[in-house]
């Protein structure tokens, strides 16, 4: 046996990845891989997978890939959560070791934010925005695929840390000196910084893409103040991404320089200041909170009018409050570390700026309620999530105002009160919103509805499970239980509340299982959407067949007011979306490209090489990245010509051609 083999085995599979849970994950990964490969080979689907999906630049297909990845990551992050809750169910349980607990809470937070919430948001952006504003695709379709593959390979790099080399273990915020090389020499934190760096580039590109799409590619007549609210929140979210991700990129990059190349930015010696990392991280981190919650606000602003059969109450106030939240979110980051000791004047400023955000948010809450007031409400699953969101998010917001009060924060900082607060906003806001949007736009994405009855089961399990989990955690926080605690002895009075919380967590897990069952069942038996407008919707995406054809609109509609599709229906002009054969002209559509996939692969190889400081692998990855970029630069065949006849044929098959 050559001498390097034991070294290689020990580096890739140190004892920390040979624990029972990791071995179990290994078996699951290998088994899943074998099943996928076997099925694809048996069915001769490799070519189909490559041509139709892996090389696609169609925003609707990219949306589906984001969605699948996000659901998989929700599973992974959820299993992490259940492992933590199991360990905390009773006093002195040692279900997993303290070291493993550190890794699990780190990966739980990181995955849920970066690899679950973000891709789920991008799935809905991609699925809906071009259809909603009357565009044929996003502004930069090939870059859109680049974004996806950077996210996907970043997520892959992060996830293999669990079974190859060891997971990061310094929390989702990765503060130095916990991440300083001298104190944390394993590859885990390298994985963290590199995976987030890679997927962060992808996210930045997505922000640019949707900002330009919305600013430059709206249908004629759709002025900014005629845009659906979801388009407004996407615009503001994209702007937030543009301004928030560069500081994160610098924080991650400089940390990597510290760890890989012995720079001294955040080291305890050599004049480094760990607090500078914390500042840069939260300069990104606080806007990030609004990056994930603004889309949910947009979704509710579409769902409520549709299922109340009323136009949105206070459209202008809604727009102004979204923009206000966007601007204010940059002035609050220090509230994540009041206890740093910046002094009373600084803390008071950031406490007040934080409380200010409650005002525009309150405006939005009232406007949703007034939209429902006097409306003909249909209690569908999307609407149930909205109704659950209002009280849940209000509690999350109110506890946020409590925490913004500096003296209170000194008491509650890093306790379970904080844990309950941010889950209250992230689950009650973001996740409820995204699930609402998922049920709402599912027929548009896939051409069938998700079963309502099963959806309601999933909703109640998830909603009640949520409160059973996090309600007790407020009390635990008040009783002094700190976050990231591995275990606790009997006699502190925490055991009953912890047990209830764990039961709730399993309830949420059950809700997830029902959700997945709902999807699988509905694929076969779900009600097919033949009209393209199953909910009696108000915005342009419902004027298209479900799913929309590759080119979206055979003829771009002209918009004259808000809720354009509703107005057309009210005037009896639904035939306006049908086209006469002579109105159809040939189109230039974006052509599929393998470049984004290989660019992502190059970044993955670079990241893997740097993680283990195997420079020649990193060099190989860098060469791949430069090669893919050269390929992109010299590729002038990025559009394909679609003949008018083919579009006529497709429109006729959809029954949308005027005779």
């Amino acid at each position: 046996m050559p001498a390097f083999v034991p070294y290689l085995l020990h580096t890739l599979f140190p004892p920390t990845v040979l624990r029972p849970t990791e071995i179990g994950a290994d078996v699951l990964i290998v088994a899943t891989g074998v099943i996928i490969v076997t099925v694809l080979t048996r069915q001769k689907k490799w070519g189909w997978l490559w041509r139709e999906w892996l090389t696609t630049v169609d925003h609707k297909r990219i949306a589906v890939m984001y969605l699948i990845a996000a659901i998989a990551m929700l599973f992974r992050g959820g299993v992490d959560a259940l492992m933590m809750r199991t360990n905390l169910a009773l006093p002195s349980v040692h279900f997993i070791s303290a070291e493993e607990y550190n890794e699990v809470f780190t990966t739980h937070g990181t995955i849920m934010i970066f690899f679950m919430a973000m891709p789920l948001i991008f799935a809905l952006f991609n699925a809906v925005i071009p259809l909603m504003i009357g565009a044929r695709d996003v502004a930069f379709p090939r870059l859109n695929a680049v974004s996806f593959w950077l996210f996907a390979f970043g997520a892959l790099l992060f996830n293999i840390s669990f079974v190859v080399g060891g997971s990061p273990n310094a929390g989702w915020t990765a503060y130095p000196p916990l991440t300083e090389l001298a104190f944390n020499p394993g590859p885990g934190e390298n994985y963290y910084f590199l995976a987030l760096f890679i997927s962060g580039i992808g996210t930045t590109i997505t922000g640019i893409n949707f900002l330009v799409t919305i600013l430059r590619m709206r249908a004629p007549g759709m002025t900014l103040m005629r845009m659906p609210l979801f388009a407004w929140t996407t615009l503001c979210t994209s702007a937030l991404i543009l301004f928030a991700f560069p500081p994160l990129t610098v924080a991650l990059g400089t940390s990597l320089l510290d760890r890989l190349f012995h720079a001294s930015f955040y080291t305890l010696g050599h004049g480094g200041m760990p607090m500078m990392y914390v500042n840069l991280f939260w300069l990104f981190g606080h806007p990030e909170v609004y990056i994930v919650v603004l889309p949910a606000f947009g979704i509710f602003s579409e769902v409520v009018p549709t299922f109340s059969r009323k136009p949105l109450f206070g459209y202008t106030a809604m727009v102004v409050s979204v923009v206000a939240i966007m601007v204010l979110s940059y002035g609050t980051w220090v509230h994540h570390f009041f206890t740093m000791g910046a002094g009373p004047s600084v803390n008071v400023f950031f406490g007040l700026s934080t409380m200010l955000i409650a005002i525009p948010t309150g405006v939005k809450i009232f406007n949703w309620i007034f939209t429902m007031w006097g409306g003909r409400i249909r209690l569908t699953v999307p609407m149930l999530y909205q109704l659950a969101f209002i009280p849940t998010f209000v509690v999350g917001g109110a506890t946020g105002v409590l925490l913004a009060t500096v003296p209170v924060d000194y008491q509650l900082h890093n306790t379970y009160f904080l844990v309950a607060h941010f889950h209250n906003t992230l689950i009650g806001g973001t996740v409820f919103g995204l699930l609402s949007g998922l049920y709402y736009w599912w027929p548009k994405m896939f051409g069938y509805k998700l079963d309502e009855r099963q959806g309601k089961w999933a909703f109640w399990l998830f909603f009640l499970g949520f409160w059973v989990t996090f309600g007790p955690q407020y009390l635990l926080g008040l009783e002094g239980m700190t976050r990231r605690l591995w275990t606790y002895p009997l006699g502190l009075g925490w055991h009953a509340l912890n047990l209830i919380s764990t039961i709730g967590a399993y309830g949420m897990g059950a809700g997830f299982v029902v959700l997945v069952y709902n999807v699988v069942w509905s694929m076969q038996h779900g009600e097919r959407d033949l009209t393209g407008d199953p909910w009696d919707g108000r915005t342009l995406e419902w004027s298209l067949p479900s799913p929309a054809p590759e080119y979206n609109f055979a003829r771009i509609p002209v918009v004259t007011e808000r809720d354009a599709w509703w107005a057309m229906k009210a005037r009896g002009e639904t035939t306006a979306v049908r086209v006469r054969p002579d109105e159809i002209s040939a189109l230039e559509l974006p052509r599929n490209s393998a470049m984004p996939f290989f660019l992502g692969l190059g970044f993955f190889v670079l990241g893997f090489g740097l993680t283990f400081r195997w420079w020649w692998i990193a060099g190989l990855g860098l060469a791949g990245i430069l090669g893919a970029m050269l390929w992109a630069g010299f590729d002038y065949e990025d559009r394909k010509h679609v003949h008018a006849e083919e579009i006529r044929r497709i429109e006729a098959a959809l029954g949308r051609l005027e005779a």
Binding site: A139, R216, V250, L257, H270, M273, L280, L283
Partner: protein
């Protein structure tokens, strides 16, 4: 892809904006520049905090070489002018003059990078590495990130010269040349801040 390009007399917009699709890409490039501004802003903020914590080592009076930095400034400012001339000739469809001024820009840029590399090597030979202090980490990273941008810009422009030689001036190559010039001007602006804050500020402040 061959696109019809309106004759010069019919044009109301500059060449690179004449096609909607290319014009949208220019908007996208501005958004990219926004993110790059913020990258440099973050690096400047690190530098600004660490610059006050040098503790006498290295000595600012000997560490910041104003002569080479001034030479770099003049080179880069001149190159911003030459790239402007390249775009001016591009809009008049004078490929030869455009290419000549672009090559001049790259020669100036390459000289800039060479001087900077020599400075860095000199620093390292004098025993100043970024491992030594947070200040040196921030200095090398801020100035080095700018230098890496210039280097990448030179490589990007070289591929553009090949594309123009093969395809001539089309709406696509015109847009690419224009976005390159935006990138180049942007790097010039960043350098002005580096020269003022890092070099002049380091020597005087």
């Amino acid at each position: 892809m061959s696109q019809a390009w309106p004759e010069m007399e019919e044009q109301t917009l500059p060449a690179e904006f004449a096609h909607e699709e290319e014009s949208i890409k220019i908007t996208g490039f501005w958004m990219f520049l926004v993110t790059d501004v913020l990258i440099f802003a973050s690096l400047f903020s690190l530098y600004a905090v660490y610059a006050g914590r040098m503790g006498g080592e290295p000595n600012p009076a000997t560490f910041f070489h104003l002569g080479p930095a001034l030479a770099e400034t003049l080179l880069l400012l001149t190159s911003s002018f030459t790239v402007g001339l390249a775009i001016w000739f591009m809009r008049r469809r004078q490929v030869g003059a455009m290419t000549a001024w672009l090559v001049a820009t790259l020669v100036l840029g390459a000289t800039f990078v060479a001087i900077e590399a020599r400075e860095f090597l000199g620093d390292i030979q004098s025993g100043y590495t970024w491992h030594q202090s947070a200040f040196l980490s921030a200095f090398f990273t801020l100035v080095g990130t700018h230098g890496a941008h210039v280097t990448f810009g030179i490589l990007m422009a070289l591929t553009l010269l090949i594309q123009v030689a093969r395809r001539g001036l089309t709406p696509v190559t015109a847009r690419k040349l224009y976005t390159f010039s935006l990138y180049w001007h942007f790097l010039d602006v960043v350098w002005i801040f580096i020269y003022s804050v890092v070099y002049l500020g380091g020597r005087l402040g």
